[in-house]
Symmetry: C2
Subunit: 191 residues, 2 copies
């Protein structure tokens, strides 16, 4: 057997990693299977040994993107829940995130792209969206009075703030937007 199972799994993972980065950056249609494979130092033809088609790698890339993003990292023991949540919100609504200098959150980077896709993809989006809200809820419950409505508003502000920031052409406006969302989000979360 010239190729081990381990090798196959690693190749698959490499493709998925490129996929999550490229689809976030450029959207479904602007990324070709050739692009994905070139980033993995492979050629087009090899793609179909790993994924059924383009849509299926896109769907998996969403999950992969969340796995790598800051939001799903474990809280360091040195921080309180409140400190950690503050750090997460600030990192989310940051220039680095908007400029994609850190792993992108698919919830913000892919939101419009996903709206036009099939059930499978939207179901994945819905799932990770609920996870984000649940994670914040859990981190807030001990030190805050905020309820589910507050949290839904906060995540809309976070996702919206980052998505809008990416579409703007004016760095000053982006910075004002991000800082406003940071302040108002933390205000809602710390009440």
């Amino acid at each position: 057997m010239p190729y081990s199972k381990k090798h196959k799994a690693e190749t698959r993972q490499t493709i998925l990693k490129s996929a999550s980065r490229l689809f976030s950056a450029k959207g479904f249609d602007q990324v070709s299977i050739d692009d994905l494979m070139q980033h993995a130092n492979l050629t087009r033809g090899a793609f179909y040994s790993h994924f059924k088609n383009k849509q299926s790698v896109y769907s998996e890339a969403i999950t992969e993107g969340v796995r790598k993003s800051r939001m799903t990292q474990r809280k360091p023991d040195s921080l309180t829940d409140q400190e950690w949540i503050e750090e997460l919100v600030n990192a989310y609504l940051s220039q680095e995130h908007v400029k994609h200098e850190v792993p992108a959150c698919p919830l913000a980077f892919m939101v419009t792209d996903i709206a036009n896709k099939e059930t499978e993809v939207k179901t994945t989006y819905t799932k990770i969206y609920k996870q984000l809200n649940y994670a914040i809820k859990k981190l807030s419950k001990d030190h805050s009075e905020c309820d589910e409505q507050d949290i839904l508003a906060v995540t809309a502000m976070m996702i919206g703030g980052v998505a809008i920031g990416r579409a703007l052409n004016d760095p000053d406006t982006t910075e004002k937007l991000l800082s406003s969302c940071r302040d108002k989000a933390l205000e809602l979360l710390n009440k």
Copy 2:
């Protein structure tokens, strides 16, 4: 002259109308020039008498979309500023808007699509984004203490709420999201 100037202007407007609807619904790449022209009962070849290329009609479609959307309508004299702003926020964060049963706001429907485009398109987006914030500021100044930060947070919530709502697969979650954003947005605007 077999075709009048008026006829040309009308044809152009018809194309633009299809463009604003289709690009909002499906995104840049999923709409072909053929699609646009078929909706105007014309064929591909005629397109280039009206627009330079696909990108330029996309750019104009953003402006056209805003022109038709609720947000730019004039306030009826029978309503106070406060009543009108409440109506606008509620209409924006509504199921009808998310489902595109009323003209779509490009700020929400095209946000990710635009992030990956060239300067011209992003400049247009930035302009209408600022217009939205300015319009709300003007409507708020007489009855509310809210500042620019509040307004930026509110519009992020509005745009984010609608964009996320479109990507979700679960009507209950969408409804909870929309109603939470409505409540929190109006809370910020009425303080």
